[in-house]
């Protein structure tokens, strides 16, 4: 229960910060994707199901406020959350390499899917440009923020004593 309350606030704070604070702190119009960090972290910290639900909520929030059709971002985030959940077995709390790698991959997949479905299908073919100007900067910025945000999420959940270790002894 407490985990869910924390989750609610983590999503709320991330969304609010992403749409306000980090829009002011954007470099060249690029701001980090906090919701991906939250979705991915909850995915590999807990399990597939949790990642899915978190992803769905995050995506749905994006849909309500900024989506063209309801459900598009929810679907993308849903699958990213689920995919990250599959790595729960490999997750150790003290290891930061896996989280960073997973979040990088998640953000890349998210950006790429967005490009293909929202831009490529409308005939914007200059993929090199979009890589240079949007996808790569977003990933770099997101990873940079991850370094600070991820330990916070981990700590919040560790203090509840709720993070299940992914080591084989407990499974």
């Amino acid at each position: 229960m407490r985990r869910n309350i924390i989750l609610f606030f983590v999503i709320l704070v991330s969304f609010v910060l992403q749409t306000t604070f980090f829009q002011v702190l954007s470099f060249g119009g690029i701001s980090p994707n906090l919701l991906i960090i939250v979705t991915a972290s909850y995915g590999f910290m807990f399990d597939k199901k949790y990642g899915m639900v978190v992803g769905f909520i995050c995506g749905f929030l994006m849909d309500i406020f900024y989506g063209g059709v309801l459900g598009f971002y929810a679907l993308v985030y849903l699958y990213i959350g689920a995919a990250n959940g599959a790595f729960h077995q490999m997750f150790y709390q003290d290891d930061i390499k896996l989280p960073i790698a997973l979040i990088t991959a998640s953000d890349f997949v998210y950006s790429f899917v967005c490009y293909v479905l929202l831009f490529l299908l409308r005939g914007r073919f200059d993929i090199g440009y979009y890589f240079r100007s949007t996808i790569v900067p977003e990933i770099v910025y997101t990873v940079f923020v991850t370094v600070f945000l991820y330990p916070c999420i981990l700590m919040l959940n560790r203090s509840v004593g709720d993070v299940e270790r992914g080591d084989p002894k407990n499974v």
Partner: protein, 289 residues
């Protein structure tokens, strides 16, 4: 809660692959519904508005307060130096001003001829503050802090500094989402003021970097349109009120079909530093009715 109850609860929990399937179906159905019908999730908008918007409001207010203070400190030194330069400029400008005043008479006369005066100053407008921007990096829509409670509705036009910003595409009780005309998925039917040629103004992420928006399908058979010409919203648009300034033509190219022209427009609005906007409280539908 007794452990027995807890265990019972766990038994009902669905396996993850069914949950994935279920949520996927839900998303697909929602997408289909919102894409093929006019349904907009009113209740969801309402709930989300009450939870999220107050926070966004607060954070953006604090943020803008801080950024103003920081700017003030940084600018103080510049301002002192600027002050001296400006004093010199005043002298030059006074001379120029006299010249311009004469031009103004002429302009007023021409405007009357064109019957453009006060076309959109007559509409009721309401000010709103931008409280949040699109969280992704692909599109440039933003949220303002007024909604249906303040009399706004979807399709209302949003302007700032005399130029067109965009229109409201989604709305809640205390928030509204504005789709900017520089947005990659936005199209506005425009008109070159000088020659009344119709063109299509299309936003583009690629051009946005240079601070311009694209236009296409300009049929200018008489070769009248020139760089610097004013582009306003056309009267055939079904969403935008006529004669709102969009920007000035920046570049014209002949298309390969030799019939139409395309190019870029410098928007009249500074989209990078947009903080407050005006919403025109009339939609095109109401005006034509």
């Amino acid at each position: 809660m007794s452990p027995v109850v807890k265990r019972k609860r766990k038994k009902i929990s669905i396996p993850s692959r069914y949950l994935l399937l279920l949520l996927t179906c839900l998303c697909v159905v929602l997408m289909a519904v919102t894409f093929f019908t006019d349904y907009s999730a009113d209740t969801v908008n309402r709930i989300a508005g009450y939870i999220i918007v107050p926070f966004q409001n607060g954070v953006s207010r604090v943020g803008s307060w801080i950024s103003v203070r920081v700017d003030e400190l940084g600018e103080l030194r510049e301002v002192l130096q600027e002050n001296q330069e400006l004093k010199q400029q005043i002298a030059d400008l006074t001379v120029e001003n006299t010249q311009l005043q004469q031009d103004k008479y002429e302009l007023n006369n021409l405007r009357e001829l064109y019957q453009l005066d006060g076309q959109y100053s007559g509409y009721d407008k309401i000010g709103a503050r931008i409280i949040a921007r699109d969280s992704g990096n692909w599109f440039h829509s933003f949220t303002i802090n007024k909604g249906t409670d303040d009399g706004l509705a979807t399709d209302m036009n949003v302007i700032a500094g005399g130029g067109l910003v965009g229109r409201i595409v989604d709305i809640g009780p205390n928030w509204a989402k504005v789709n900017a005309i520089i947005n990659d998925d936005s199209n506005v039917s425009g008109m070159v003021l000088a020659s009344s040629d119709i063109l299509m103004v299309t936003g583009s992420l690629e051009l946005m970097e240079n601070g311009v928006i694209g236009f296409e399908q300009l049929i200018d058979s008489k070769e009248q349109v020139e760089i610097g010409d004013k582009v306003v919203t056309s009267n055939i648009s079904d969403k935008y009120l006529p004669s709102i300034l969009i920007g000035y033509i920046n570049e014209i190219n002949q298309d390969s079909n030799n019939i139409t022209k395309s190019g870029t427009i410098t928007p009249a609005v500074d989209f990078e530093h947009l903080e407050e906007v005006l919403v025109i409280l009339k939609t095109k539908q109401q005006v034509t009715d």
